[in-house]
Subunit: 904 residues, 2 copies
């Protein structure tokens, strides 16, 4: 319904009442009533005992601004009528000195909007009604405290008087009385402060604080509408593309009090256990208390149910015992709410003189384990469909279920904090080098590898360690990526810690820890703790398998894994991976038994020398690939040919140099010189990817041959279908692919000839450069598949090195320059447009082009949603992310437009 210029003169409905089990509105009327108003109407319509009230619609806001800040003629009468209904329902009266009605006034836009007036509570108090409040509550201190709070809140948000004006008065008063805490002030003190507040208001504004509750009410309504056009709200709307003509609604609701005697109470209830998900009624309450008393924790709350007694809540009487009738009503509401909202609810309630009021209900927060159980149970109970159940789980929460977690009951001494790079909780002895990590692990010790940062040469140590801690690097630093891939606990960029690995010291403030000292890492929170903190093992219950089955049924995207070791590949299969989307061959090159040969290859000056070194590596590569093909039999395996800058493999220490020189039969000085020659200013943009294949074709030739030999071997051995997909990294031009595909095809033909076996294979490319995305049509003329390498594509599109971003990305997030780390969640605006371009142009040329993603984003739910929306065929992620991706892919199908989940 739109609000025309002339509706003010017609009999138009401006005010929507709710309460007493009825309402003019419902949950679907957010546009007219705002989020809060629509929800209150919905609860009331459900028959819940919501404190009565009414909502002035957003149309009034629009009318207000179109008519020089006046209200429609009929508004006052409608408000009066609605107010009358509240008074009748509660038997109280606005401004009555015996039974005064107090109300709250809240703004309510369609979406919550910072910068707008939020809330005025206790409106209706004045010098007369405060007496009624005293009489009703029997607590004069509470009444005057409420009065001065109301003055302060109203003075600030409605009368625009600065906070400090009130604070100064209070401080001066306390100073005069020689006290420092508010709690030391009594009723007379608050009475006095109320007086001083009123004087100050009169001084400042030239008119006294309005004693007339109706004047207070219209003041608050005007303040809400006025705040729609204040500078902060305008800026916020501009930044978030919220149209100005949406307007705000104003909701006025009766205040109810849980502190008016022993027949009053206030509490919180969950319809199921938020910790375990069990279908039990769970909650706490306090007799004769305000809501904030529950939160403040000054008094220990009591259990709602007899069954819940003793479980943290002490064994004081349950509400089930003290207020059986109210309890029964609440228990009945519990069922009704779950049926209606079809999810576990978190309910706030107040009992005012024996009468139950529901203040709020919302989907309850829960642990990952509870979320899983509740979703599966609700589907089993027929409350939600399987599809809906899938939507109830935050995919990333699954991570908690796959790794050990800290025992929540344990005490812990946090000595540092970094980024939660790879989940799980692990304790172990501090070691500072990969070699020591490996040796300690061989002795059966749990160790935590502590480094400033890690490099590919630390891989064996990372594998040996229970956890990895670095003081530098971000969520996609080497340590983070590798640790997630291996399922190792990892905290990175703990910049408050300092590691002096020569001295063998980890400094954390006053703590100086040495090698062998024990610490615990929480990879889900980023915390570093002293000593061993107990952990809880993961229990993959039947619910997990059930939900995953539903997800597999629902999703369209295939989920593959990024893996190069047999262990990782096997783990990923266990987690449901349908093939390998990225096997990084260079990761196979760092093993101790081959790094010397690899280094020999790199320092080679001629193709012949290089071939000689490669000949040593070739049989190992063949074995590597054969292992993967066996594990992934029947599924495709995408093998990326050598990608990283060669200098990553260079020997550094004198000993390493000597070893390589010895193996290659050259002078160590030569090796040293060559290492210097191969050093690069910006290795990420250097001599890597297919540039290696172009300049040193013998490397790719050896790798291709290893692939075809391994495939033929596994085929011969097992008869299983082996489907290698050979991926050329970092291509920017069609010609690179032409040259390298010709090489691969030649090797394939030679091996077909030699083995007599035809291995079906594809040759494709990674799209990881902006130019590749733009020229996708050309590339697709040669490439049979695309795989988006979104790590590199993000680096080049943003011009940000993920290894170096830690020095400014935190500031960027703080200032709202980037909402989320673009290396974690795909930047759909920039990088995403390149993906869309590449998909469209690639498929225009080759309609059956297989397209996937194998960057870190392949395991991020928001990014997976985007992948679904642009029609990719598969996502590939690290093994421990596979279940997350399966669920996220299922949700992405349901989301359709891909927008819904963001609203939750």
């Amino acid at each position: 319904m739109s609000c025309g210029e002339d509706t003010g003169t017609h009999t138009h409905k401006w005010v929507y009442a709710f309460g007493d089990g009825r309402a003019d509105g419902h949950a679907g009327m957010k546009e007219l009533l705002g989020g809060k108003g629509a929800n209150l109407a919905e609860m009331s319509r459900l028959g819940l005992p919501v404190p009565p009230g009414f909502t002035i619609s957003t149309e009034v806001c629009t009318w207000f601004y179109r008519h020089d800040r006046r209200y429609p003629d009929t508004l006052v009468a409608e408000v009066e009528a609605a107010l009358g209904a509240i008074e009748q329902s509660l038997g109280a009266r606005f401004g009555d000195r015996d039974l005064p009605l107090l109300v709250s006034v809240r703004s309510g836009a369609r979406a919550s909007m910072p910068g707008m007036m939020d809330t005025v509570l206790n409106l209706g108090i004045n010098d007369a009604t405060v007496e009624g409040l005293i009489r009703r509550s029997g607590d004069p201190r509470f009444a005057y405290d409420s009065y001065r709070r109301f003055l302060q809140m109203y003075g600030n948000v409605v009368l625009n008087l600065d906070h400090h004006l009130f604070e100064d008065i209070l401080e001066a008063y306390k100073h005069g009385r020689g006290v420092t805490l508010d709690t030391e002030l009594g009723v007379d003190d608050w009475h006095a402060v109320v007086g001083r507040y009123q004087s100050m208001i009169t001084d400042r504004l030239g008119t006294p604080f309005p004693q007339d509750p109706r004047a207070q009410l219209w003041g608050a309504i005007g303040a809400v509408f006025g705040s729609w056009m204040n500078q902060r709200a305008i800026t916020y709307r501009r930044l978030h593309d919220i149209p100005e003509d949406w307007g705000t609604a104003v909701t006025v609701q009766a205040m109810v009090f849980g502190n008016m005697g022993e027949d009053c109470a206030t509490g919180v209830a969950f319809t199921r256990s938020p910790a375990t998900g069990e279908n039990v009624f769970y909650g706490e309450y306090l007799v004769n208390a305000q809501g904030e008393d529950v939160v403040a924790g000054i008094r220990t709350p009591q259990s709602l149910t007899v069954a819940g007694k003793g479980d943290g809540a002490g064994d004081k009487p349950a509400m089930e015992e003290t207020m059986p009738a109210v309890y029964r009503e609440l228990a009945e509401i519990r069922c009704r709410l779950e049926r209606h909202y079809r999810d576990m609810q978190d309910i706030e309630f107040t009992v005012q003189q024996g009468r139950l009021f529901i203040l709020q209900t919302r989907n309850g927060k829960r642990t990952a384990a509870a979320a899983l159980k509740i979703a599966v149970d609700l589907a089993a109970e027929g409350v939600v469909t399987q599809e809906e159940a899938l939507g109830r789980l935050e995919p990333t929460a699954l991570d908690q279920l796959l790794h050990p977690t800290l025992d929540p009951k344990a005490t812990k001494t946090v000595i540092g904090r970094g980024l939660p790079a790879s989940p799980g909780a692990s304790a172990g002895r501090i070691v500072f080098t990969a070699d020591v990590a490996e040796k300690s692990a061989e002795r059966g010790e749990q160790v935590i590898l502590c480094r400033v940062e890690t490099s590919p040469e630390d891989i064996h140590g990372m594998h040996a360690a229970a956890g990895i801690l670095t003081t530098r690097g971000g969520m996609t630093s080497h340590a983070a990526v590798v640790a997630r891939g291996m399922g190792r606990t990892c905290v990175v960029g703990a910049s408050g810690l300092r590691i002096d690995h020569r001295a063998g010291v980890l400094m954390a403030g006053a703590h100086h820890l040495a090698e062998g000292d024990v610490i615990t890492l929480d990879g889900s929170s980023g915390e570093v703790m002293l000593g061993e903190v107990p952990t809880i093992a993961p229990a993959l219950t039947g619910d997990f398998a059930t939900l995953m089955g539903w997800a597999d049924h629902a999703r369209r995207l295939v989920v593959r894994t990024n893996a190069e070791t047999p262990q990782d590949a096997a783990t990923a299969r266990k987690f449901g991976a349908e093939g390998i989307g990225l096997c990084r061959t260079e990761h196979m090159f760092f093993d101790a038994d081959r790094i010397v040969a690899v280094r020999e290859m790199i320092i080679a000056d001629t193709p012949e020398e290089r071939r000689a070194a490669l000949a040593k590596i070739a049989p190992m590569q063949t074995r590597d690939f054969a292992d993967l093909f066996r594990i992934m039999a029947g599924f495709p395996v995408t093998i990326r040919l050598l990608d990283p800058p060669l200098h990553e493999f260079l020997p550094h220490s004198e000993a390493e140099i000597a070893e390589v020189a010895d193996a290659a039969g050259v002078d160590p000085q030569c090796v040293h010189q060559r290492a210097i020659q191969l050093a690069e200013a910006n290795p990420m943009l250097g001599h890597r990817g297919c540039r290696l294949g172009i300049t040193f074709p013998e490397i790719y030739e050896t790798q291709a041959r290893a692939i075809f030999r391994a495939a033929a071997e596994v085929d011969r051995e097992t008869g299983a279908t082996v489907m290698p997909e050979i991926m050329i990294p970092l291509a920017a031009t069609r010609r690179e692919l032409e040259v390298l595909k010709a090489l691969i095809d030649r090797v394939a033909a030679e091996e077909r000839e030699a083995t007599g076996r035809t291995v079906p294979y594809l040759v494709g490319t990674m799209i990881e450069l902006p130019r590749a995305a733009l020229r996708a049509a050309e590339l697709a003329e040669v490439a049979e598949f695309f795989s988006f390498g979104t790590n590199d594509l993000t680096q080049t599109t943003f011009g940000i090195s993920r290894d170096d971003s830690a020095s400014f990305l935190p500031d960027y997030q703080r200032l709202g320059i980037v909402a989320r780390d673009p290396f974690v969640t795909l930047d759909t605006d920039g990088v995403g447009e390149l993906l869309s371009i590449a998909v469209a142009r690639g498929r225009a040329v080759r309609p059956d082009l297989k397209i996937g993603i194998c960057g870190e984003h392949g395991g991020d739910p928001a990014s997976i949603r985007f992948c679904e929306s642009i029609g990719l065929d598969y996502v590939s992620c690290s093994p421990f992310r596979v279940p997350i991706a399966r669920l996220a892919a299922a949700q992405a199908v349901q989301d359709g437009t891909g927008d819904r989940r963001e609203d939750r």
Copy 2:
């Protein structure tokens, strides 16, 4: 005209004759006659004495392939008729043993196409006609040598016999005769070789070599048409998008001989001097000689003109004296050709028994100085318009005119070769460090700074040196970019040389040069030479100014310069720059008198410390800007705020560290630690550009303040209009610009308040990241101008670091993966699309958005053409490139679509 299926049965013209001052075709018929056929027809039609001949049209080729490799019925008759006309013209007959006619047969596609049959010469020789040839030439050895050459050529290209078959026979024969050189063989030897060739052909093919000249002719015609469909030609067409149905033509032309006696001659003529451009007839000839004798240089040729005698050509009689009638005819043709082709011509001619034949005419190659003079003269003579004259100059050739060049007469010993990074020729003493360079220069010595590569800390040494030589890096390495900016001679990436700067040795093969030894660099060829090679100083004649004036009149693009020093800015003004498009403030930071303060700023741990250091720099920056504003009064000056990774400024040596620690009053160990902390893995993608401004706002604030103070100062002092354009580098998001523009606007307001002067200014951004180009609409909401930083944009779009590209770009160019170094000439397909996108999206939001380019490409003609085509407002380039850019911008307007020049 298209060739239908049935035209073979109609009377259709297939053959186009030329000769005797007439022709069936003309230059515009390339599609039908191929390039060669059309040109010969044109010359003939002009009345030039072209050896007569005919062209079989491309339609025959098409017909041939549509009819199972048969010819149209009427073709034989048409060829016979055309052959008859040739015979009549020359009084010779095909196959006649007294006066034999010999012909050449050539393929002729629209564009020259490698992989196709090229040429068969001397067709018509057989055992009988060879005798006539002997009689006519009086030179039996020549006749039999021609015969065996014909057999070899025909055998290879028509009969498909491998080269080595002929070579083996010749080698065996020479071995038997005990000689090694062809010149040692006499007439009987060649006669014998002819016999052995014929036997081999008979053995191989089972039939003898065709003695019938008509059989030879049709064999050659068939070979040309057949070669259109050979594999190499097909591949070439595919790579160059040449449609298969274009077909090829076949041109048959009479051979003429300049070696049939003393009334015969052969030579080359230029219509003007190719060295100076002077309007004099210039050329050489040899009496009784073949064309190849002129080329081979065995005999010294004689001058055409009396005036030209003694000028290198010795003082043997000029043709003007020996063959006055022929000379007069040639001199008359000279004028006719220049008038017709409207450019200086390079003419090949032969005199056969007193009769002049013109074999070829084409636009003559010339030096840059000649090109300039000829273009201006031709326009003055009314032969071409000013606009055409502008199109006659290769803009980059102007570079030669602005720098000293090597004396072409000097002898030189080349000891190494690198990339020609910055033109000019300079000799000087070898120095290995910037400090020594500076000290030597202070003593008045010319030095060449030799480094593996340069860094910003070498700037003072580069300034002091006459030339810079590096052994690493590409055309846009630091050394190359800075040297071009300064106008210093520079050769980079001379990878054959080795510099051991500790030992103080430059190794070039066997040469070991020490500090103080003299070398010469040629920055236009990339050569490194031993000792001092004499050079010629540039002379900017009036012609240069004239042509530049025409260019300025014709161009639309504004040309600015990249400059930060007063010297560079003044040079650029002298060369016609209309403002500064890029002032790199960081270049101002390396001066000895401020680097310590800059380093102090960088190692600062807190904003306060940073401000303290900045306070020392601020007055210097203000002076810098004021100097530039004075020089560029009335023109805009774009100042880029600090851009490079901070660690570029870090102190390295102990002495530097101590100096900084001292200035900052901290422990050297601190400085050392901070330096390690600031090191980055990929500095190009690191903490730089506006990321510095975001994290350390005090830096940009100081710079902005210096700009406004300097502008106000110059305004007050001179009343000149100062137009600063403040450029925010490396933005990827709108929000970065919002935050930093707010900062700049605040400083502007504060300074306006303080100085009472309003400085008009713009705030804009560099578009140098793919994301910035894609999100241009958002950025343009904040930015008032865009400047394309195509160096960085190329780096990120391609994912190639220009500092590291030398290890693979040469291979890439060799394999045709990139046609041109994308850091020199804009990659229009990839990077160019991003530019187009940014222009369109930016202007959609802000129609008056000022857009320019300030990467190295701003001085590259092909890139400037692209800038014109997408509607940029200006280009900005280094000072010495400004004239090039002015000319290129003028040509770009004329080109319209921007394609024409590529065809030249």
